[in-house]
Symmetry: C2
Subunit: 397 residues, 2 copies
Amino acid sequence: MTHTSFVNDRYANAPGSPIRELKRFTELPGMISLAGGYPAPELMDSGGLQKIFSSLSGTAFASALEYGGTEGAIALRTELARLSSSRGNAVEPGEVLTLSGSQQGIDLLARTLLSQGDTVLVEAPTYPAAISAFRFAGAAIHQVATDDEGLVLEDLERALIRLKPKVLYTVPTFGNPSGRTLSEGRRRELLKLAVRHQCLVIEDDPYGDLWFDQAPPPSIYSMRNTVDGAERVVAYLSSLSKTLAPGLRLGWMLGPAELRRACVLAKQTDDMHASTLTQAAAAAYLAQGLFSENLPRLRATYGKRAKALARALSLQLGKRIEFTAPGGGMFVWGRAPGVDTAEWLKAAIERSVLFVPGSAFYAQDADHSTFRLSFASQDEAGIATGVSRLEEALRAL
Amino acid sequence: MTHTSFVNDRYANAPGSPIRELKRFTELPGMISLAGGYPAPELMDSGGLQKIFSSLSGTAFASALEYGGTEGAIALRTELARLSSSRGNAVEPGEVLTLSGSQQGIDLLARTLLSQGDTVLVEAPTYPAAISAFRFAGAAIHQVATDDEGLVLEDLERALIRLKPKVLYTVPTFGNPSGRTLSEGRRRELLKLAVRHQCLVIEDDPYGDLWFDQAPPPSIYSMRNTVDGAERVVAYLSSLSKTLAPGLRLGWMLGPAELRRACVLAKQTDDMHASTLTQAAAAAYLAQGLFSENLPRLRATYGKRAKALARALSLQLGKRIEFTAPGGGMFVWGRAPGVDTAEWLKAAIERSVLFVPGSAFYAQDADHSTFRLSFASQDEAGIATGVSRLEEALRAL
C-alpha cells in the first residue's frame, strides 16, 4: 500500500519560523542573542504579577478557572479600552476583542477575510509570521517598498490599482523588523488610499508603547474618523506581550463590528477564548496601575540599550554597514553591502552571537545583505560584546 | 460608494455556536441550566490551584512569563505523557503537542489536513464546534449513523467507499452529545476500515477520565499498534478543561509526527503557544499528584448526578421521552417523539430551565425531536427541580 501524506499542500512543505529555529542556539553557554524580539526577563514585573495571583480572592480565582466568553472577560476589556483610549484609540469595552496574543489577530483576520487567490500587501521588509498566516489562508503576497518614513505611498498606490488587494498589513510604529515609523502625514494619506481602493488595513501595533524620547504619531486607527469611510477599513491589533509578559498570551483587536464578529466565530472553533485566569490577572494588574508604573522603566531601559547598540554599531561596523537608529520598539534594521548575512550569521554563531539575517523578512526578492538586531534582551555590556563579536565574524568572512 | 463586506463567504453568514448563544440565559435569576457542558465550579480544586501559583519559586514564576516553545513546556508535556501512558496511550513527552484546549486541536487538524471540497465524516449526532471548524476549512460534512454502541460500522464503510473522506471525526467515549461509548470490538474494526480506506481518524476524548462505575474501553489511539498501518491514521485529542479547569485553556494532541509538525506550523501563526503560566501551574499540579487525588471526587459526583437525572427523567418524563443513561461524561441524549424540542426549549426558558435542542448537533437532516441534557453543573436537588420544570414545559406545549 502506498501512503500519501494527510497534510494539505499549504502546510506540507511550509518552512518553520526562521526566528523560532534560532531559539535553540540561544541556550548554548555564553551565547549573546541579538535575534528574537523577546522582552527582557529582568524588566517584567514578575514579583508584582505573582502577588496578583495570591491576592485574587478565592471567589475571583475560582471564577477565573471557568469557561469565559470568546470576546474576553469584561474586567480585562474595560482595562484594555481604558489603555487604548489613553493612547488616542477611544473605544468602549464592548468594542475590544481579547486575543491570545496579537499574533492570533493576524491569523483570525487572515482566515475570515481572505479566500484562495486574494492579494495581501505587506511592507518590505515585514514580520515573517504574518507572511505565513496570509500564505496559509491561500493569499498571494505582494511587497510594497519602504523608506525611512515607512511605506512609500506611490508604490502602495500603484499596487492598489494594479493588484486590487483585499488587505494591507503594516507595523507602522517601530516596525518589526525595520524599527521604522510611518510619518503622520503618510498615515492620513494611507487611510485615504485604503478608502478609495477599499483595501482593509491591518495595523499591527505591539511596540507603540515602547517609545524612547518622544511618543510616536497617533495610530492609523485613531485617525479613522478624520477620513470619510475610513472607520470601515482599519483593524488594529496590540499586545501585552512586549509590555507586560508574553507568557500570559494576551492581545486585543479593535475594528469594525463585522470583522470582530467574524473573528469571534473563528476563535470559537479555535481556542474558544484566552485563558480566563491570565485575563483576570492582567485585568487586576492594569486596574491597580502597576502597568503604567512599570512602563517608564521599560522605555528608559530599552532606550538606553537601543542607543548603546547604535553607538557600538557606528563605532565598530560603521564602515561596513548602514542602519538607522530607531525611536522605540526592539529592533535595529541594517544592511551590510556586499555581504550575505546568512554567511555572516554562521560565522557569528561560531563566535557566540546571534542575529537574524534579513531574508526571512521578505515575501519575495529578499535583500540578502540585510539583517535585524534586537537590543531588547541584552544589557549594555552584552550589547557591546555582541557587536564586537559581530565585527570579528564579519572580518572573518 | 457601495460597500461590500470584507469578510469572506465562509464566515460572512456562519451562525454562532448555539450552545454559547444559550449562555446569556444562564445568568437569569433562578435559572437551572442543563445546557452547557461546563464542569461544576464547586468540583474544581480552586484552592489547590491558587496555592500552586503562590508556591512557584520566583525563578519558576518569572520564566513562566516568557515566550515558550510552540509544542509546550517540557514539564507539562512530561506530565501529560505520564497521564496518557497511565490511560494506555503510551507516549514520550516529545510526542505530546500541547494545545490551548482540545478544541484547538480540531481546528489545527482541520486547517492543516483539509482542502476545499474534501469530505469529513462525523457521527450523527456530533459536537457542533467540530462541524463549524470543518466547514470553515472548506470541507463537506457527511453524517454516519450511530446506535447504542456508537458508530454503525456498516454505514461508516458505505460512506468510506462512496465518499472517500479524508477525515473521520469521532468522540467515541461518553460522546458529546450522545453520552454513548463505542464498543471495543467496533474500535478495532473502525481502525481496520480507516487503514483500508486511508481515512484519518480524529479521536476526540475530553470525557474519557470521567467514568462512573467502570473504565471505558481502551482508546482507539491506544490500539494503533494492533492493526497494521494504523499508527499513521489516528490523531488523539484530550483536555484538562473537564477534569482540571477550562480557564487554563490546556489540552493536548497525540498522533503521527507529520500531523503534529503541520499543527505546530499552524499554531505558530495562531497563538504561538499555550500560556506558559497556566502550563507551569498545571504541570506542578499534576506533578504533585493533586490531579489524581481530585479525579475520584469528580467521578463520584458526576456519577451521582447522572443517576439522579436518569431517575428523574424516568419518573417524570418516562412516557414522553426515550434516553439512555450514560456510563460517564456529562451528557444525557434523548428523544421526545412528536415534539419539536426548539419549542420545548422556549417553554422551558419561561419556567427557568435550560437545555439544548438536538438539532444543533446534526450536520444535516436534523432530528428535531432530540435534545441534550447536561447533569454536570447542577446538584441533585437542582436536577430534580430542573426535570420537574421540563415536565411542566412539555405539558404546556
